[in-house]
């Protein structure tokens, strides 16, 4: 191999490494629970927030497409606002993962509700800590 090909290869590798590094640092999204987010919310940062949709908290206004609900992990609750139709698998007493950011006004602004076609998102049978832990575990595996 001639040196210029080796140099060329190294340049390509470095470019690729940089692209991956930049790609990851720009698009990485952290999964947080309501407790974690509530403890230290950073406005504007992208999060995936997972929890159970508290029974009685869901409000859906079809004419304005405003969807509001509260997510809970059994310890803390976070109010969420979303614009758009609730997905098929979404409902009170079920787990949900939303992607979005914390608004300075004191709510989570959701841009996307993860719809997973699986039946894992059922609510904890009894709302004790173990049930919530199990729910949070399954929620972390939400795709997209």
């Amino acid at each position: 191999m001639k040196p210029k090909f080796i140099v060329g290869g190294l340049v390509i590798l470095a470019a690729l490494g940089y692209m991956i590094y930049a790609g990851v640092s720009q698009s990485v999204v952290y999964f947080v629970t309501p407790s974690e987010l509530g403890a230290a919310p950073v406005a504007g940062k992208a999060y995936r927030l997972g929890g159970m949709v508290l029974p009685g908290s869901l409000k859906w206004e079809p004419r304005t497409l405003d969807l509001t609900f509260t997510l809970s992990d059994g310890k803390r609750t976070i109010p969420v606002r979303h614009k758009g139709t609730p997905p098929d698998l979404f409902g009170e007493g079920r787990g949900a993962v939303v992607e979005g950011s914390w608004a300075a006004e004191g709510y989570f602004k959701s841009s996307h509700i993860m719809a997973k076609h699986s039946e894992e998102y059922t609510a904890p049978h009894d709302t004790n800590a173990a049930g919530y832990r199990e729910l949070m575990r399954t929620l972390q595996s939400a795709p997209r």
Binding site: M1, K2, K4, F5, G8, G9, I12, L16, M19, I20, A22, G23, V24, Q26, S27, V28, V29, Y30, F31, R48, W60, P62, R63, L65, G84, T85, P86, D88, L89, G91, H117, E119, T122, R137, T138, Q140, S141, P143, R144
Partner: protein, 648 residues
């Protein structure tokens, strides 16, 4: 009866496959033809048993034999006829069965085709193929048994996953698995070449058509998967960089690299080690994909231990990698290149760069897919990189690949002179620049869209230049133009088949560019008689109706395009409620067009029919993705045909 008979037969097949693999290997080492022959008999019987078992399973589905657990889990009395057939591969156990059956059939075809012309490699090829087959049979008997009795047999089954009740799901797994299993053949030849030490070019030429076929089926599987995602899932997209998609895309990328790099080896005796490594990598990735998507590891590293199938795949995967690396190390001395890279501006280096970009893309997809797992395992933090990451990193790589698609086939071998470059690329470059200017003048301001369309124009022009030049040469010796063109395609089917595949990829790229750059959507709630408006369409909500189908309950909305474009078109998106599912499933309705698709999803609705919330999309140029698939099919069919002419 069926569960026990089926299971017993599969155990017999497993034993025979193992025996056959060992016998073929011993036959190869001791050069005893009789042993190889008895291995062939074993392969024949294994294929027979698998075919019978597949028939048995289909029979169980058609007769609603709910004593078979798999049947009870994946069908019910309301499942329509065709979907009972295709429910066979509607879940893990049956998919593995389909995979194993295809592999057995491929083994038979290999026997028929190569038993005489590949004497020395052939017994080892048989060993490897039967070995892989034995692994799948092991999976079918231990961690994922398809024939398992359910006692007591229920009166009705659970039903097929409603999302799989679709024509795309009938064909998608079949195509995908034909691709996955197809790569087993070049892999087996590569290992045989390493074992026998005959690492010359024979294993490549012998498997050239196998590789093209496997690559084509994998491409088809990916495209049908995209079509399924587009018209079933109701999000208006066809590709989401989902781990399941990535799992199939990675072997496609390395397979594409392999398809190109073998040409360099055939022509210049270079890249021997690289080609062996690529085909081993491609095969490994097909297994890795199954491991990733079926073991539950993608959900969470901790889910891995829940099912044992993951451990089986991981063990086999490690075994394959270890054996392959061991063989490569053993034959290291003989794998040196004979040819040398002379210049950066040459066909070799264009192909080499193509390979580098494809492998880089594979690595990014791999990295992005496992990144959440690694982060969870190492730091305990659950993070994810979504579509933005994959798009951001891959789009430049793919644009580079499209550019090389224009350069590679025309540029001179060894060292391209200025003259050669001018002769081949002056006009295409002009066409590309003019194309960019035209697109810009038409009002396109997205840099990526302009670049992608200009590159497509450039590549199309290189193909036109080549075809025109070759046709002219034949016309000069007295052939009429149509005859000259036809002769060109038939006599040089590999080259021109390749060009047509490239055109297909360009057409797909056009569809992807258009849909990413110009699709629009809106979401709104309507009362009967009200209109939704988007991009010149006025859609009127006429009302809701409920109906009872064979295995579900359905609420259908009727929407009419009122005047203007596509006036009078009626669209009826629905929501389907399956008793076995907790949530409804959206049923999308659409009107496909060459320039744009009108696409409606019924979201929420009031039970009294007084209002419905819809998502309305106008998706631009998406149809070209499917049309590109057809073009690609034509090209692949031409390229895979037997060569009439020895390559010069």
């Amino acid at each position: 009866m069926i569960p026990e008979v089926g299971y017993g037969a599969l155990v017999v097949a497993l034993v025979l496959a193992v025996l056959g693999a060992v016998t073929a290997a011993v036959g190869a080492r001791t050069r005893r033809a009789a042993l190889v022959e008895s291995a062939q008999h074993a392969a024949l019987v294994v294929a027979g048993i698998l075919t019978a078992c597949l028939a048995l399973l289909i029979y169980a589905f058609l007769t609603f034999d709910f004593s078979v657990r798999y049947v009870a889990m994946n069908t019910n009395l309301g499942t329509p006829f065709y979907y009972r057939m295709t429910a066979v591969w509607g879940a893990l156990e049956g998919s593995i069965m389909l995979w194993a059956w295809m592999l057995a059939i491929y083994t038979l075809i290999v026997m028929l085709r190569h038993r005489r012309n590949a004497r020395e490699l052939y017994p080892w090829v048989l060993t490897v193929m039967l070995g892989v087959l034995a692994f799948f049979l092991l999976v079918m008997t231990v961690p994922a048994p398809v024939f398992q009795r359910l006692t007591p047999a229920p009166a009705d089954g659970r039903g097929l996953n409603p999302l799989l009740e679709d024509s795309g799901m009938i064909t998608h797994p079949v195509a995908l698995y034909l691709g996955f299993t197809g790569f087993t053949v070049p892999f087996a030849f590569a290992l045989a070449a390493l074992i026998t030490g005959r690492v010359t070019d024979f294993w490549i030429t012998a498997t050239r058509r196998w590789t093209i076929a496997a690559w084509y089926f994998l491409s088809l599987g990916l495209l049908i998967g995209g079509w399924w995602s587009y018209h079933v899932l109701g999000w208006g997209g066809y590709w989401a960089w989902d781990p399941v998609e990535n799992a199939a895309f990675m072997p496609w990328l390395t397979g594409t690299a392999f398809l190109h790099s073998v040409m360099i080896q055939e022509r210049r005796r270079m890249l021997r080690l690289w080609n062996l490594a690529l085909v081993i990598l491609t095969f490994t990735l097909t297994l890795f994909g199954t491991f990733l998507t079926r073991s539950g590891v993608i959900a969470s590293v901790h889910a891995f231990t829940q099912g044992s199938i993951g451990i089986f795949f991981l063990t086999f995967l490690s075994l394959v990698v270890l054996v392959a690396l061991g063989l490569l190390a053993w034959r290291w001395e003989t794998l040196g290149a004979q040819g040398e890279l002379d210049s950066v501006v040459s066909r070799e280096s264009a192909f080499l760069l193509n390979n580098v970009l494809l492998v880089a893309a594979t690595f990014t997809v791999f990295f992005g897919t496992i990144f959440p797992l690694v982060s969870e395992a190492l730091r305990g933090i659950k993070v994810s990189v979504g579509m933005p990451f994959f798009n951001q990193v891959n789009v430049p790589l793919f644009l580079g690949l499209i550019f090389l698609m224009g350069v590679g086939p025309l540029i001179a071998w060894r060292r391209a002179s200025i003259d050669n470059l001018k002769r081949n690329f002056l006009w295409p470059a002009v066409v590309g620049i003019v194309g960019a200017a035209v697109v810009f003048a038409l009002g396109v301001r997205s840099t990526l869209a302009v670049l992608s369309l200009a590159l497509a124009a450039f590549v199309s022009a290189t193909i036109a230049v080549d075809v025109a030049r070759a046709t002219r040469a034949r016309v000069r010796v007295g052939e009429a133009i149509p005859r000259a063109l036809g002769g060109l395609l038939l006599r040089h089917n590999r080259r021109y088949g390749g060009f047509i595949v490239h055109l297909g990829i360009l057409v797909i790229a056009l569809g992807v560019t258009g849909s990413q750059a110009w699709s629009v959507q809106t979401e709104t709630t309507l009362r009967p008689g009200e209109h939704a408006e988007l991009a010149g369409y006025r859609l009127r909500f006429d009302g809701l109706a409920a109906s009872e189908e064979s295995n579900h309950f359905k609420v259908t909305g009727t929407f009419t395009v009122d005047g203007g474009r596509a006036g009078g078109t009626v669209l009826q998106p629905a929501k389907k409620f399956y008793p076995q599912e907790q949530s409804p499933i959206a049923y999308v309705d659409y009107r496909l067009g060459l320039l744009e698709d009108l696409y409606v999803v019924l979201g929420d609705f009031a039970r009294d029919g007084s209002q419905a919330t819809i998502k309305l999309q106008v998706n631009r140029l998406v149809s070209w993705i499917w049309i590109g698939g057809l073009v690609l099919t034509l090209g692949a069919a031409l390229a895979v045909a037997p060569e009439r002419r020895k390559p010069a």
